[in-house]
């Protein structure tokens, strides 16, 4: 059952097209993350769904009801903002109950809903305080509570954790996930943080210039990016790209990059490669093996430029095939700068894109 459905949605500000004939179906109870860098239209899309921006064309359905021209309050949504957007002059309790009072809900029912939200979010001791007396994490919890008391089917999050420090961010991330698991509401979550996207989402929609580049579950997005943009956007450090040409020799396929020939016979989409085709080979840092080649496996030599020990992981920056390349290995394996290593590649999890269309092959 679809919960939110966006049909051919376009939005123009004057001559600028922010969203271009966008389609999106979100299932009931699904956690969908809109991911993209700033200016890609993800927040704009969320604001359109919320009814805070008027669309230029297209339709929006929430629970199979056309809400394209409905007021935000009539859409059955609750929204959480990046800056918390708590009413500064009201106590936490008044912040939570404001919308319910506006909607003229009976006081007893208001009290019940506020108490329930406060219990779920564990903010009961804060109810009498003003927002200025709360920490960032507490404020965001209250902001989530304000969406919660509305008793709605769809929660919209607009970069809710971006104003918090790293530690709080990961705490609240877990809390939002827990909230989703217990409430089972539909949640649409906008972020530019890929970690948030990968950890929270049932599905991620990666956006660029108002167009959804790929819509899939996090693992598919990570392991099989649809195009070069998604591949480069997801993952930190980002995927290593090698521009080269497909060669065939003795029944095996290679991607030749300068003096190096990558054996891509094991690549799942190998059948789609044509000899002489210009391609981009993408290898994630953790898909490169250092001094771990199986017997008989082809290896390549490279020299370590920089070592970045990160605790659990160790990141090596090497010069290989005439360019810089990052490799992720286990934290306890150390290679001081200048070490020579033997690299081998797991082509089963590599990505190859056509250099022209930039789409996955």
């Amino acid at each position: 059952m679809t919960s939110v459905s966006v049909r051919d949605l376009s939005l123009n500000f004057g001559a600028v097209t922010v969203l271009d004939r966008l389609n999106l179906d979100i299932d009931h109870g699904e956690f969908l993350v809109l991911l993209g860098s700033s200016g890609c239209g993800k927040s704009t899309l969320l604001n359109c769904i919320a009814g805070l921006l008027d669309v230029s064309d297209g339709q929006i359905f929430i629970k199979d009801r056309n809400v394209t021209w409905e007021e935000p309050k009539d859409r059955g949504i609750g929204m959480v903002f990046q800056s918390y957007a708590l009413y500064p002059q009201m106590t936490v309790e008044k912040n939570l109950s404001f919308g319910l009072k506006v909607a003229k809900i009976p006081p007893a029912e208001i009290d019940r809903r506020v108490a329930r939200a406060a219990e779920i979010l564990q903010i009961q001791p804060l109810l009498k305080r003003k927002p200025s007396e709360l920490s960032g994490g507490q404020r965001q919890r209250v902001a989530i509570g304000r969406a919660l008391v509305r008793d709605v089917d769809v929660f919209l999050f607009d970069e809710p954790l971006s104003n918090l420090d790293a530690k709080l961010r990961s705490e609240l991330r877990v809390e939002i996930k827990r909230l989703h698991q217990s409430l089972k509401n539909t949640m649409i979550y906008v972020t530019h943080d890929q970690i948030e996207a990968l950890t929270l989402a049932d599905r991620i929609a990666v956006m660029k210039s108002g167009v959804i580049q790929q819509l899939a579950d996090p693992m598919t997005i990570y392991n099989a990016p649809e195009n070069l943009f998604v591949a480069g956007f997801i993952g930190s450090p980002s995927m290593n790209f090698f521009r080269g040409e497909v060669e065939t020799k003795d029944g095996r396929s290679f991607v030749r990059v300068g003096g190096v020939a990558f054996d891509v016979t094991d690549y799942p989409g190998q059948a789609k490669l044509r000899t002489g085709q210009k391609v981009v080979l993408g290898l994630r840092p953790e898909h490169v093996k250092v001094d771990e080649a199986r017997d008989g496996e082809a290896t390549h030599q490279a020299v370590v430029d920089i070592e970045e020990p990160m605790g659990a992981d160790n990141l090596l920056w090497l010069t290989f095939a005439g360019q810089s390349m990052s490799v992720r290995i286990a934290g306890q394996r150390r290679y001081p700068p200048g070490s020579t290593v033997r690299l081998s590649f797991d082509m089963g999890v590599a990505s190859i894109f056509d250099a022209g269309s930039e789409n996955r092959l």
């Binding site: 009814g51 929204m79 500064p88 506006v102």
Partner: protein
């Protein structure tokens, strides 16, 4: 835990090299009579005295009798303090046929200023709020027109306004003058409020809309409580501006409704009889007292308002 921490601190302290222990410590000493301080405070004092001198002369003169003024030493303090000129300025000085002093003008000014300030601020704040948050079609054009209005010289508009007021049947009345003040305050006040509301986090407005609040609910429940500082600023601007207005007061009212400034002018510039400098000084100070009080009283409120409004939500 505490004792361990304490021990660690003591150990660290004792093992620090001697070179780190010696030398400067504690608060940085400050010299109060440095050359820089003397220059800065000296200049400030001089400038302050320069600006205070006219006020001093006015107060001193207003407390002297006419014989003493004729002696001619304007800086000398009064030998014999008299409040006669103040009483005369307030309740006896003649303008035209009326001899009831500035009091008439004072009450006229109050009756002009209070409604003008309230009405202009009420309308301008809603204007600013609508322009900043609701971005209706043509909002930018409307705003531009309003701002251009602020740059058109008053003199150009005086005659057309006289005609408009006459047609409306309010020419020469307090109502007419209040309308004129309200309209002329609109561009700058709208700009002031628009910029203030535009500076408030947009997400607050969005959150209120998701909560189901409409135009007026958001204005009264969300925006107003956050806007005390800007209301105080607007009030200071309007009270002083309207109280000090002379041109509109002369042009748009009849003598019985003349505001205090116009009456002051008439008292000071009356050509008949002796020039009563002491009465003139007292009358001038009396007229300036209201803006002065507003500055002093709301100045403090203003600072408090900013401090209260500075808390981020």
């Amino acid at each position: 835990m505490d004792s361990i921490a304490d021990n660690n601190m003591v150990v660290g302290y004792e093992t620090a090299p001697a070179s780190l222990m010696a030398g400067a410590r504690g608060r940085k000493p400050r010299r109060t009579l440095s050359r820089r301080n003397i220059i800065v405070y000296g200049t400030l004092t001089l400038v302050a005295l320069y600006y205070l001198l006219p006020l001093y002369v006015m107060i001193v003169t207003s407390l002297k009798g006419m014989p003493e003024i004729r002696v001619g030493n304007i800086f000398a303090p009064p030998l014999e303090i008299t409040f006669e000129p103040w009483v005369k300025a307030w309740s006896e000085a003649c303008t035209g046929l009326n001899c009831d002093g500035l009091s008439r003008g004072f009450w006229n000014s109050v009756r002009i200023t209070v409604p003008s300030v309230i009405i202009s601020i009420a309308i301008a704040s809603v204007n600013g709020y609508a322009l900043a948050n609701w971005r209706f079609k043509g909002a930018d054009l409307f705003f531009t027109i309003l701002i251009v209005g602020a740059f058109i010289p008053y003199q150009v508009m005086i005659y057309p306004i006289v005609i408009v007021l006459r047609e409306l049947g309010v020419y020469g009345t307090l109502t007419g003058l209040i309308i004129v003040h309200t309209i002329f305050g609109m561009p700058i006040l709208t700009l002031l409020f628009r910029n203030y509301f535009a500076g408030l986090p947009e997400e607050l407005f969005k959150a209120a809309r998701v909560d189901g609040a409409g135009f007026w609910t958001i204005y009264f429940k969300i925006m107003l409580p956050m806007s005390l500082p800007i209301f105080v600023v607007a009030m200071i601007l309007q009270v002083t501006g309207i109280w000090n207005d002379f041109l509109f007061g002369v042009v748009f009212t009849r003598p019985e409704y003349y505001p205090m400034t116009v009456q002051l002018n008439n008292i000071v510039n009356s050509v008949q009889g002796v020039k009563e400098y002491n009465v003139n000084m007292a009358a001038t100070i009396l007229t300036g007292l209201v803006p002065l009080t507003v500055y002093f009283v709301s100045g403090r409120l203003f600072v408090r308002g900013i401090a209260a409004g500075a808390v981020k939500g």
